[in-house]
Amino acid sequence: MARILVVDDDSSLRMLYERELGDEGHDVTTAASGEDALKILENNQPDVVVLDIKMDGMDGLTVLDEIMKRDSTIPVILNTAYSTFKADFATWNADAYVVKSSDLSELKRTIDEILQAQ
């Protein structure tokens, strides 16, 4: 059981993550934009942030930088439709990188790994 913040501008996906990760027993909060996410983070301390990269308004990498500035201990999983960026992942400060898939098992496994490491 962990507190998870899901940041994604796609409402269907927010619904899916809420349902699926909720079924896993997690406490899921969702944010529809980077700005919303940062606002939520002002008052909350999630165990993991699942962050979309390409979003309208503030993009995921800027959000990532902001989070790192405020509290670099929060684990962040980049979750994106762009498999293209996988090779660039090593240059970013995120803890993991997962390509979006209808099969959420990779995301779930990554979350579990990060939680166990803490």
Binding site: D10, S12, A87, K100, D103
Partner: protein
């Protein structure tokens, strides 16, 4: 009485002197007449013939036979002769002369038409004589060296081996021809038919004629030389033009054969080039036949028209650097190697009739041989240039092909950028659909009425995601991941996958997969994509109940995969751009399928070709290289690894 006698003697003396003066003045007139004809002669050959005609004409000197020798450096060679070959012909000629009472003018006019049969035979005879005046003790050498006339009243007093004896004269006179106090040759004359010794008048007149003729002959030789040099110059110029005008090899070679023959006034010319260690005739020019085409075997038509084709001297002379003059099959040849640097690339040959009436050694002179060598030098350069030009053309074609490929790749790269944008739009809803379906499926039992439907949604979205991954990433970061695999297995799986689509068109599917297909290194997922695209393409093309045939087989070091269909043919202009992304979109198509297939096959080091004809339908042929373990490194082209490496290099 004494006075009378004295008077008589004086008168006799006067008469004699008068006769002498008359004779002298007659001789002078005759000489002037002869010289006027000589001056008007247009070339060396005519000049020489006029001289000999004057020597033998009854109207002038009246010798039976006359032979002319010319000196070249120290070499004295017989060049031409005039006279009957035997008493029978002599009788004929002289009878004709008497009845026609032909004047010198007529005789000289006939000189320009060439000599008689006897003249030709005597000329052949005299041309067999050639001697070194520095080394020979022959009377001929002495005549030239001492610049003195010799009257031989009995040839038996000459040395047995003296070449002059070969002319079968019992008695003769030989006089030197001199120009600018240098000897240039000699004239030998005799009366062997009438068996009379030369008279002092004959000898005297011959001396004077030879003296004057010397200068005229020298001038004619000089003019001939200039003419020849001019001819050589214009020939070389023509060949040089050929060198400069980047013409193709075939044209260049036939040009060389023609120019060489024409420049040397020969009957024909042949250019042979060395191919795989063998001399192969590449072009033949013949004045009588014109240019003769060479078939692929090279020698066939030559053997028929010109027996020279397999002439052994051609191969024999290849080692030498200079042109050689040889004889074979009733013809005279001159052959010279075509050399490039230190190697020989072929031969240049000109040929003529042996029994030529022109000057020199049976048709070709040493000057001709020298010129042929010069010509061969230029010709070799021209041929090499033409070869280089052909190679250049091939390279250009190769570059054009690479450029076409690059264009395709660039389009695909650009496609990758565009696709990234599209990916976001498609992947998100796809993830949502599939994700919810999975979620719902997990919450129901297998016997639930919706379980099957949800399974279909899950598997279909998975497939879509996989295709999306492949298609979108492939332009950027998806190198092939080849593993040893069975192409037939991949094909069977693909066909199963598309069975619904095939059934919907009621297509007749003919499958012939070779049992002996070896495993190759292949990225199964990518190759499946290729097969899907090609089969889907065939399904789209064919009419209902059309035929699709798929075969695999091994051909040497490759595997051939053939997709044929009997649909209507693809227009030529569409075929040309079939593999270019977005260039050919059939109704409802993405314009990507075949471009992607091309790219994947290319990455596997293979090729994909298409042929489409009315009545034949359309055939796509994929050729994949057979790569065994040892060749792995040289296996499928991974042109993305470089990009990957570069990116890795950027990592902190």
């Amino acid at each position: 009485m004494d006075t009378d006698l004295e008077g008589q003697a004086v008168i006799e003396d006067l008469r004699r002197r008068l006769a002498e003066v008359e004779q002298a003045s007659y001789s002078m007139r005759l000489l002037l007449e002869m010289l006027s004809y000589l001056q008007a002669a247009e070339d060396l050959e005519t000049t020489l013939r006029i001289i000999l005609t004057c020597v033998t004409s009854g109207y002038t000197l009246g010798f039976n036979r006359a032979f002319l020798f010319l000196l070249d450096d120290a070499k004295l060679s017989g060049v031409m002769a005039v006279g009957p070959s035997d008493p029978f012909e002599a009788g004929q000629i002289w009878h004709e002369l008497e009845t026609n009472t032909r004047a010198l003018e007529d005789l000289i006019a006939s000189c320009r038409m060439g000599g008689s049969q006897g003249d030709r035979q005597l000329s052949e005879l005299v041309r067999t004589i050639s001697l070194d005046t520095q080394a020979s003790s022959s009377i001929l050498a002495r005549c030239v060296n001492e610049r003195e006339p010799f009257v031989i009243e009995d040839v038996s007093c000459l040395a047995r081996e003296d070449p002059a004896r070969r002319l079968n004269a019992k008695a003769f006179v030989c006089v030197p021809m001199v120009s600018a106090s240098k000897p240039i040759g000699l004239i030998l004359a005799d009366n062997s038919i009438t068996c009379r010794n030369p008279t002092p008048e004959q000898v005297n007149l011959l001396k004077m004629l030879a003296w004057q003729a010397g200068q005229i002959v020298e001038r004619a030789r000089y003019e001939e030389d200039i003419k020849r040099r001019l001819q050589e110059f214009s020939t070389l110029n023509e060949i040089s033009k050929g060198i400069l005008s980047t013409t193709d090899l075939e044209t260049e070679i036939s040009l060389i054969a023609r120019i060489s023959a024409q420049a040397l006034n020969a009957r024909g010319g042949v250019v042979r080039l060395i191919q795989e260690g063998k001399l192969v005739a590449k072009a033949i020019f013949s004045r009588t036949i014109g240019e003769i085409g060479i078939d692929k075997d090279g020698e066939q038509p030559i053997a028929k028209s010109i027996p020279a084709s397999s002439c052994p001297i051609v191969t024999g002379s290849i080692g030498g650097k200079q042109a050689e003059v040889r004889y074979a099959w009733g013809r005279c040849f001159m052959c010279t190697p075509l050399s490039k640097g230190d190697g020989i690339i072929g031969t240049l040959t000109v040929f003529d009739e042996i029994f030529s009436d022109s000057l020199g050694e049976n048709g070709f002179t040493r000057e001709d041989a020298r010129f042929l060598s010069v010509l061969a030098g230029q010709a070799a350069i021209a041929i090499e240039n033409a070869k280089l030009f052909e190679r250049l053309k091939q390279k250009e074609e190769h570059i054009r092909e690479l450029h076409r490929h690059l264009l395709r790749s660039e389009r695909l790269a650009a496609l990758g950028e565009v696709s990234s944008q599209v990916a976001h739009e498609i992947r998100n809803p796809l993830t949502a659909i599939g994700g919810f379906a999975r979620s719902m499926r997990r919450k129901i039992n297998d016997d639930h009425p919706d379980a099957k439907a949800l399974d279909v949604i899950v598997s279909e979205t998975s497939r879509l995601e996989r295709i999306l991954n492949e298609q979108l990433c492939f332009a950027k970061l998806s190198p092939p991941n080849p593993k040893l695999d069975d192409v037939n297995r991949i094909m069977k799986e693909t066909i199963d996958l598309l069975s619904d689509a095939i059934a919907s068109k009621k297509a007749r599917l003919e499958i012939d997969l070779s049992d002996s297909l070896p495993q190759i290194y292949v990225d199964a997922d990518k190759m499946k994509q290729v097969f899907i695209n090609l089969i889907q393409n065939a399904i789209d093309i064919i009419d209902n109940e059309g035929r699709i045939s798929i075969t695999t087989k091994r051909v040497d070091r490759t595997i051939e995969i053939r997709f044929a269909n009997d649909g209507p043919p693809i227009p030529k202009e569409v075929v040309d751009k079939l593999f270019v992304p977005f260039a050919t979109t059939k109704a409802g198509g993405s314009g990507l399928g075949l471009a992607i297939a091309y790219e994947i096959v290319f990455e596997h080091g293979g090729t994909i070709d298409v042929r489409s004809e009315e009545g034949l339908g359309t055939i796509f042929l994929i050729t994949l290289p057979l790569i065994v373990e040892g060749d792995r490194r040289r296996g499928p082209v991974d042109r993305r690894s470089q990009i990957r490496d570069r990116r890795r290099g950027r990592m902190p």
